[in-house]
């Protein structure tokens, strides 16, 4: 339902010390999100994954490329039509503590968008008697949504955000996103600020919404492990400095990554002593990401332990390769499968 071709975004900054500088947040990202599909973007801070999420949700503009939602090029639409189109794509933010209005109860938070939807539906049918004229219908729908996200409506409806835990708040945020009947959710680090014991609950809720209602998911995170919990046939896209450098089915990329950057990311995941063994080929990147260095070659070359002369001079493009029977794509001149992810000991 979302198709992106060569999306680019450059930020022009001007600081008192740094002078003017240019940050290329996205350098030509292509991807397709099928209806009901799941795509996870992973990468370290500053790799452009949040910018991409905001562009997909219509909250940020892009400089080049084409973004199609339901086959329509969004740049060719009028502002109003574009707004309507993007309503079917809703965002779930990282911090459930700051995205809910602290002075409004959950009931009020959900009722507003529900009334708006009801008015629109009634208007569309050109008559009265739509859901907007029926307080009961709005209330019923709010309860339905809260049950859908695993909350108990009677307990939660009259509460203010501060009376809820982080996990409950994130569920309210998801319920609010669902009020407008979206067909895709964009979750940007949606579980990183939630208590560990409740993270998995939110992840399985997202998976449920996908399986039961066919809502597509774009999941943006630096925690690769969480991407595994989004359900079957999820895709993992690894971003580095605004470029997708490897992509494929989640489990294939985790178990048999071919790009050294993906391998570094996976090696950085802590190993649970006694339950897991570290992957045999664990890798460390050389140095830190420097977003100011520009190179005609591979962007990861300065940090890559396997870089050669060619990597310094030539830019690798995404190429298809078959790994473990699955199709993956990678942008590396020296692709090699390395097993870096932790190995389970308990059911080996």
């Amino acid at each position: 339902m979302i198709e992106a071709v060569g999306i680019e975004r450059t930020f022009h900054g001007h600081g008192p010390f740094t002078g003017s500088h240019v940050v290329r947040a996205l350098r030509g990202v292509d991807f397709t999100l099928p209806a009901g599909g799941a795509v996870a973007f992973i990468g370290e801070s500053g790799c452009g994954k949040t910018t991409l999420g905001r562009i997909l949700a219509g909250l940020e503009t892009y400089d080049a490329g084409v973004l199609r939602v339901d086959g329509k090029d969004v740049s060719a639409l009028s502002g109003r039509r574009r707004g309507e189109l993007f309503r079917s794509i809703q965002m779930v933010h990282q911090d459930p503590y700051s995205v809910l209005n602290p002075t409004r109860t959950v009931a009020a938070t959900l009722a507003d968008p529900l009334r708006m939807v009801a008015r629109r539906d009634a208007g569309g049918r050109g008559g009265f008697g739509g859901r907007g004229r029926d307080r009961g219908a709005v209330d019923r729908r709010a309860r339905e949504l809260l049950e859908l996200v695993g909350l108990e409506p009677d307990g939660v409806l009259p509460k203010y955000p501060h009376q809820l835990s982080g996990g409950q708040r994130q569920r309210v945020v998801i319920a609010r996103a669902l009020t407008v009947d979206p067909r895709a959710l964009i979750a940007d680090e949606a579980v990183s600020m939630i208590d560990v014991s409740m993270r998995l609950g939110i992840l399985s809720l997202l998976r449920d919404l996908r399986e039961r209602l066919g809502i597509a998911l774009v999941f943006i995170t630096h925690d690769v492990a969480t991407a595994r919990y989004l359900g079957a046939d999820g895709e993992l896209h690894v971003i580095y400095r605004g470029e997708v450098i490897e992509r494929g089915p989640v489990d294939t990329v985790i178990q048999s990554p071919v790009h050294p950057y993906t391998q570094c990311l996976l090696s950085a995941i802590p190993v649970l002593k006694g339950l897991e063994d570290p992957g045999p080929d664990r890798l460390e990147p050389l140095g830190l990401m420097d977003a100011t260095v520009d190179t005609p070659g591979c962007l990861f070359e300065p940090r890559c332990p396997f870089a050669t002369e060619r990597c310094r001079e030539e830019h690798p493009e995404l190429l298809k390769q078959s790994v473990d029977g699955a199709d993956v794509e990678h942008a590396c001149f020296h692709p090699q499968i390395r097993h870096v992810a932790a190995v389970d000991l308990t059911h080996a």
Partner: protein
């Protein structure tokens, strides 16, 4: 590594304990009366070991760590119990200059979100000098020298760091500067409160490697407070798990992770997102962690979310007791039943 691992395997006796927390209770005055954030906690930090203290938000882990410094923020106060440190003695009764000497001089503390706690208007070096003056250091040149050594030990260019403002440093570097501040007065005990939250995986891995190196090379006794099982698993020799202000389980890290003996520890491990293993085996915990007001005053604090709850759990509070060599748990259910579940 083997050395600390071997030492971790031995039962912690009071002789080799660097820091011993005994029966510590910390209460906060709320409008619903005095509520304990930490209740009868017993914790030993064996010398030379890295101890991990794991718990969710509101479990009292930061409050417990702060009481090692005698720095529980009001309206909280220590109502009973003691904190003893080798060579210092009892800490909770110290006041004024004596307490200030212990802070920094004996125990270094890296605060939560310490990467955001630098003064944006002063260079790191200027702030170090402030620290030295506040602690009556005579040899300020020596202090700067020591700070530079620590920077190099952590893989940073000392001169550049001292001349930098905080906005010129990355999140991972600021976190390391926090560690420099904690250790520059030659502390023997290092406490890190959530050292890697807000860092991405690669910076987290780098910071964890550095903590391990600094711990080993300086010969510290380290306490890491975190909610992340992965972080403690990567570093800790010993592990203590907190829930609702109580320590519910402790023991050698590998043993606790491999065969958790408290239902909460078991549930927390099962609820951790992992790259290995079967995703369908992972289970979220029902319910929510208790806060100061909602924590039960009678019986076991975990019983509402517990898969092993029995009648006795709502009547009597289980006591933290030894059940196997070097391991303790606070649970009414049979240890065998929980570990083999």
């Amino acid at each position: 590594m083997t050395d600390t691992a071997e030492r971790a395997a031995m039962p912690p006796t009071s002789a080799d304990a660097e820091v011993a927390v005994r029966d510590l209770t910390v209460c906060f005055d709320t409008d619903r009366g005095e509520k304990p954030a930490v209740s009868h906690a017993n914790l030993t930090l064996p010398a030379g070991c890295i101890t991990g203290l794991v718990g969710e938000s509101g479990s009292g882990k930061s409050t417990l760590a702060l009481s090692l410094l005698g720095a529980v923020p009001p309206p909280g106060r220590i109502t009973s119990g003691s904190v003893t440190m080798t060579g210092v003695g009892e800490v909770t009764s110290l006041r004024g200059a004596k307490l200030r000497g212990v802070r920094g001089g004996y125990i270094g503390y890296v605060f939560q979100a310490s990467q955001n706690s630098l003064n944006p208007l002063k260079t790191v070096g200027k702030q170090l000098l402030d620290l030295g003056r506040a602690h009556d250091v005579d040899d300020l040149a020596g202090l700067i020298r020591r700070a530079r050594e620590l920077c190099e030990l952590m893989g940073m260019d000392g001169v550049r760091i001292l001349d930098s403002y905080q906005h010129q440093l990355s999140g991972g570097m600021r976190q390391r500067v926090g560690i420099v501040f904690a250790l520059v007065l030659n502390a023997k005990v290092l406490v890190l409160d959530e050292p890697t939250t807000a860092l991405d995986m690669l910076s987290q891995a780098a910071v964890l490697r550095i903590i391990a190196r600094v711990h080993r090379e300086i010969g510290l006794t380290t306490l890491i407070v975190t909610h992340d099982m992965g972080v403690v698993s990567e570093l800790a020799d010993r592990l203590a798990v907190m829930y609702g202000g109580r320590i519910v389980e402790d023991g050698p890290a590998t043993d606790v992770l491999q065969s958790p003996s408290h239902p909460y520890t078991r549930a927390l491990i099962n609820a951790t997102a992992r790259v290995s293993g079967d995703v369908t085996r992972a289970r979220a915990l029902p319910g929510r962690p208790p806060d100061l007001v909602s924590v039960p005053t009678e019986g076991c604090v975990f019983r509402d979310r517990c898969a092993f709850a029995m009648d006795v759990c709502s009547e009597a509070e289980p006591v933290l007791g030894s059940w196997s060599r070097d391991r303790r748990r606070a649970c009414h259910a049979d240890a065998e039943t929980v570990t083999s579940a």
